[in-house]
């Protein structure tokens, strides 16, 4: 387990900034002097309290399965892939949101893109190809994706047209159970 290097930090922040507005709150210190830090173990990036990260140093790298919140993984080409486990952090400060209706939640959770017919409402002034968090009508985050059309364009789209390309959904907790934290 080690802290991130500068290029790694940049790549991680860059990806997070696609989905989030307020990044500064991520590393804001608490009253007790503690703060959240990013740690890398087995190419997975973890978002964890500094005190916990310090305690985890007593565990060997191989034995350490996970700590804090797993944000995603750094690929061998140096890119960063967000995992579904990062959803609570993304949803808290989401830049753009799409709410799907009851009939659209199930297809989305099974891994399909969001069709216009399934959208209950969406954030205004959303450009195309920007990260967005997908929520149910009860404001429960279901996953995240990338908008296929801008809001204005999506209004003119036919009901079967895709509005949001899925990146990750809560169904992955079951589907990718084996590979989510290791391998």
């Amino acid at each position: 387990m080690r802290p991130l290097t500068e290029p790694e930090t940049k790549v991680v922040f860059d990806k997070l900034a696609n989905y989030m507005t307020d990044l500064k709150s991520l590393i804001a210190p608490f009253d007790d002097g503690d703060r959240y830090v990013f740690r890398l173990n087995h190419s997975r990036v973890y978002y964890v309290r500094l005190s916990i990260a310090n305690m985890a140093t007593s565990i060997s790298r191989d034995a350490l399965l996970s700590l804090g919140t797993c944000l995603g993984k750094l690929t061998k080409t140096g890119k960063f892939r967000l995992h579904i486990t990062a959803l609570p952090i993304l949803a808290e400060h989401a830049r753009y949101k799409i709410w799907v209706k009851e009939n659209g939640a199930q297809p989305f959770l099974y891994g399909s893109n969001v069709a216009k017919a399934h959208v209950g409402r969406w954030s205004d002034d959303c450009p195309e190809h920007s990260g967005c968090v997908v929520l149910s009508m009860a404001d429960i985050p279901l996953g995240f994706g990338v908008t296929a059309r801008s809001t204005a364009e999506a209004r003119r789209l036919d009901p079967t047209g895709i509005v949001c390309f899925r990146q990750s959904d809560c169904g992955e907790y079951l589907r990718d159970e084996d590979t989510l934290f290791a391998g």
């Binding site: 802290p3 991130l4 930090t9 922040f13 860059d14 500064k24 991520l26 830090v37 195309e128 920007s130």
Partner: protein, 202 residues
Amino acid sequence: MGTTRTIKNKHAANGSGIKGSKASKNGPQSDGVIKAKKNQPKGPQPGRGIKGRPNIADILKKRKKRVYTEKELGIPELNKITPVGVTKPKGKKKGKVFVDDRESMTTILALVQAEKEGQIESKMIKARQMEEIREARRAEAEAKEDERKAKLEETKDSIRKKRKRKGGKNEDDDVNGFKASLAAEGTKAAKPKKKRVSFAPE
């Protein structure tokens, strides 16, 4: 053996420690090196002149001994011991530089966020412009469509009028139309009259 010696000489940029030790052990060997020979004619004359102090002369020799860089030696690039691509910059810290303090992290964060905001802003502006263009195009297309429809209606009307002129007796039209209808009636009325007239005398 000879080659290993040269390797050592190349590796150690200053190399005086290793060389010195060898030189101290094997005096004639150090003189055998070409570089040393060049310096010899200038150096040894005063050194040999003062025979009473050989130690000082040796120290002077060591000080004056010129260390050649690899460039000066003119060795072909590919003939070096360390390959061209592998050479590491001197004085640079080995290993990764971690970013763990809050300040540097905040700096990176601010940079990334500003960059992303700019990108999104430009994307929005572009999208708005495209939307405007699309709107203008749609308005133009609509106007053209209206114009075409109006033209079609006009032709339809004119055709209808023509029909009415031909067939309709009971017309409640405008003045011109009425006159035209009257004229039409007149011509139509004249024909049967003519016939009647033609029959009447008989």
